[in-house]
Symmetry: C2
DNA sequence: TTGTAGGCGTTATCAC
DNA sequence: GTGATAACGCCTACAA
């Protein structure tokens, strides 16, 4: 009255061999140690029994779970699904399974999640949640779990990460607007404790300086979150400040969307009165009203690269892997136009 | 030279007790069996050692992994992230971890994924991929894994599922259009092997009949996939057919978006020339040009309910759980208006 | 080429 | 209340 009538022992019993032989056959690497006939026999029996190896037992023995964790701050932010999907797929082809965790932007739930993942013996981690100085990352290091950062990195960039060149991206946006004739550019950015927001912020200032324009801090906003609402609020203040501006550089598509709303509410037309640029080229950005001029970042590519790096790191934890930086590209659509004379 | 110097045995050694005692303390349920003093001692040591229970060992022993799988056809379809997120969160509070799998709409990868999940001893499954008669579902049944379907169900609805009332939703759309004065309604739907598409299709015909209108099969399309491209192609054929219609009922927001594109390409204005309704109220639908009139379905709620049902089923696999049907609600925005005189 | 034996970290069932 | 021991399903020297 065995519980699982399809374990390795059961197969051994039916094949009339010892279960260690079965084990060898069932592992591709050691299969060659077993005589061809016995091997095919065993394979057939296993097939007939619908045998599936018990990964918990394997994991316990080998202390490898073939599981990785990916942690995102908010899956409903359209940036993440393509990344997660790419990671899941790439890892899947190598036999890894992906545990997804959404921290809802909370350090505390991130810590809980991390604990849960550790206790599940994940072989590696992909973090899309890194802040500039991030305790969590420090802890991953201490625990010696291979990990790679994606989208954001930490200060000093001392961990291997896959990010895009954010300051360059913003520079492209600024240049585009300047070429259109804009001189008074406002900036609506995200929280400066994330590398992306920080680099974009800095990129904005540098690009302005490079064009001998002034990055006026009075028309630069730092939103607390990367949401449409936050962008809307910022843009509202901007309008109420009565300072002159003919274009808004937003550090994120959602923020840009918020700007749309605020402009609209104030009776300002985009792009006739005010041009707006976003960042990320999120899905469907081309369908917005107006279609959003923004920076495309290769999300799927980021996911793939991150997975590939993690795979290498898990294979050989000692190697120091180079970080990868991908290039954003400007996608010009309907939200930018030459400045209006009247502003 | 022990490998993991923070296992239950190490704690036992330091506390000068047997490791089974430690085990008892570390399990909330059995803690009361141990004397208070010993218990707190052990807890402290565990804390100091940064002890995390090894779930693989626990799983091997108890044959419960505290892991569930959620399988989606395409994570970049904006319907799924909110569902997945809700599932992950609800399961998380009960100590379960969520493995995400994206099948990319392929039965074959779904089967592979499923195998991988089985071998990981998942305690339950949430499937967002069900087709009307679905081998995969049949297999889950055979394997006796608790599962619940979400969004789509199977024919006969013989599995517990959390879905919305799709035919009712489409009826709302039709009624809205009829009230605006439309009589010639075209329909752009999805593949009929999914319950959602089928119910919406039927809902359309029923609603038309109920209003003494004809659901003209010559202006009803069945797209092969629920993508913007497919919708665009369908709408293109519709336009080229030269048949009269003043409104399009699309069975999905992405299809509706495709219709936007095709109308635009043909020089037709929405809603002035043609009204369009979608389905799902995907994120940012209100930002489209024009803002999309569509049916809102409670995605987060669906995820939560599915998780809750699964939790109950895992607790007691014998109970037959009732399916849940949620109601969609019409969100009227800018893509619908009274029909133009000239059409 | 195949069998033997021990153990991965934990829980469960005894006995003390 | 606590300890001893076996077992979960599998892998892996080592022996034969």
């Amino acid at each position: 009255m065995r519980k699982n009538p399809s374990g390795i022992k059961e197969i051994a019993r039916r094949a009339g061999v010892h279960h260690s032989t079965v084990s060898r056959v069932l592992n591709a690497q050691t299969r060659s140690l077993v005589s061809g006939k016995v091997a095919t026999d065993i394979l057939h029996i296993a097939e007939a029994l619908g045998y599936r190896r018990n990964s918990m037992a394997v994991g316990l023995k080998t202390s490898r779970s073939f599981t990785i964790g990916v942690i995102v701050p908010d899956l409903t932010n359209p940036v993440f699904p393509p990344i997660v999907r790419a990671v899941e797929r790439t890892m899947g082809t190598e036999g890894y399974v992906t545990v997804l965790a959404d921290t809802d932007n909370s350090m505390e739930t991130e810590r809980i999640v991390l604990d849960s993942l550790y206790s599940r013996q994940v072989d590696g981690l992909i973090l899309a949640t890194a802040l500039l100085n991030d305790d969590i990352v420090a802890e991953c290091r201490k625990r010696l779990v291979p990990f790679v950062l994606v989208n954001r990195t930490i200060s000093g960039a001392t961990a291997t990460s896959v990010v895009t060149n954010d300051s360059y991206g913003i520079r492209l946006a600024v240049e585009h607007l300047v070429e259109l004739g804009h001189r008074k550019l406002a900036y609506v950015g995200g929280p400066l404790n994330a590398s992306t927001s920080k680099s974009r912020h800095e990129g904005f200032r540098e690009a302005m300086t490079a064009h001998r324009l002034k990055a006026d801090p009075r028309i630069m906003y730092e939103c607390r979150s990367l949401t449409s609402d936050a962008g809307s609020t910022a843009c509202q203040s901007l309008i109420q400040s009565k300072r002159r501006f003919t274009a808004i550089v937003a550090a994120n598509d959602l923020l840009a969307l918020g700007c749309y709303a605020a402009l609209d509410a104030a009776g300002l037309k985009c792009p006739a009165d005010v041009s707006v640029t976003g960042y990320n080229d999120m899905p469907f950005a081309e369908h917005f009203a107006p279609p959003l001029t923004t920076l495309r970042i290769p999300l799927t590519e980021m996911g793939n690269q991150a997975a590939l790096l993690l795979l290498r790191k898990m294979r050989d934890p000692k190697t120091v892997l180079p970080s990868v930086q991908l290039q954003p590209s400007l996608v010009v659509r309907g939200s930018t136009a030459p400045p209006s004379r009247s502003r």
